[in-house]
Symmetry: C2
Subunit: 198 residues, 2 copies
DNA sequence: CGTGGAGTTGAATACGATCAACACCGGTGG
DNA sequence: CCACCGGTGTTGATCGTATTCAACTCCACG
């Protein structure tokens, strides 16, 4: 499993043997099963996670007790609450496995070792953050300007594989609508575009 | 004006004389007046901008021709479309001065010189991106879970100084509601909380 | 003056939320 | 084998928040 991460890193920066060894020595493999929590709001985050296999979700609960899913995390994605890790403040997010998954866990010290010990890591890290930031902007615009149906169709276009792996009510939560609205939206779309099976 | 930037950088990373000189030699001062555009959607971004004085807005226009303001940029904020700068792809955003402003312009090569030539720059850059990313998440949650009135009150609490500097219909655009709705919301709030003048 | 942008207010409308009932499925245990 | 259960998704009726369209006021600025 650790090799998944080494490979992922090598696609983004050169990594000599010693550096790869530093990576291998800095992460731990952890198997989690469906429904298991990796992080809870209110607790201080201890690790960042790289999803080697499986699927996680990152969500928060608002004052009215409603869940809002911020991201789904399939293979080869990171989920790290840097604010909590860095400042040792309680996290505001929950991280839960939606499928049996293999995650690689990494603490903040490891991140710092990579930042100083692996040339190219900090630049690649910055690039990753930029892309995430751009994705956030797109999602914000989408949320502000599109109707429920448009948001659903946009999601299908961009993340169709994820749409097939998550329960519908969680997709609704991600899309910022109720399960009922998503159900009705899907029915309408299906009525217009004759059903197509895969 | 350039000293504003040097000061800003020195609050985030050590900067020796030679490095400060590198900074001074890499940015250009540009005075823009209210209403002037620094960047247009469809054009390839040529520079990033640091606002030394004044106020800018960063917005995009959707398929229905509606403006959506993503951020307001007061003193000491950066606005850079890295995706456009890096990949030389057309930008999707407009940047306009809302007040007469002094901006420092910096091209991508300068950014790269700082990345490699100033130890601590890339780490500080990553930190800045992280904070931005966290702010985006908060805003997304806010947009998804709060009513128009709550979003307005949240904005006042967090950015009251900006609320006083921008026209109300632009604030509405930022908050994701129509100018009419914001007007009514304000009226309601004022009715409940007896008017307080500053 | 008078013109146009900004903001307010009103009435009608639309979209999605809410509340509720029900169908369906998979698993569990009698 | 069947009864029961919880979780998931569908469908209907009603409600509420914000949008839309429109008219009007108020200024700032020519």
């Amino acid at each position: 499993m650790v090799e998944n991460l080494v490979t992922w890193l090598r696609e983004r920066m050169p990594l000599n043997a010693a550096e790869a060894e530093l990576v291998r020595g800095s992460v731990r493999h952890r198997r989690v099963q469906k429904g298991e929590m990796l992080q809870r709001a209110g607790e201080i985050a201890t690790h960042g996670y790289f999803v080697a296999r499986g699927l996680l979700r990152d969500y928060s609960i608002d004052e009215q007790g409603k869940e809002h899913i911020l991201r789904f995390l399939p293979e080869n994605w990171w989920i790290t609450d840097f604010a909590s890790l860095r400042d040792r403040t309680p996290s505001s997010r929950f991280v839960e496995a939606l499928e049996d998954s293999d995650v690689l866990t990494m603490d903040y010290a490891a991140h710092q070792r990579f930042m100083s010990g692996i040339p190219g890591y900090s630049a690649a890290f910055a690039t990753g953050l930029l892309r995430m930031s751009e994705a956030r902007d797109r999602r914000l615009l989408d949320t502000m300007s599109a109707t429920a149906e448009q948001r659903y169709l946009n999601f299908l276009e961009t993340y169709s594989s994820i749409a097939r792996r998550v329960p519908q009510h969680m997709l609704a939560s991600y899309l910022g609508m109720t399960p009922e609205t998503l159900s009705r939206t899907r029915a309408q779309v299906a009525k217009r575009k004759p059903a197509r099976r895969g």
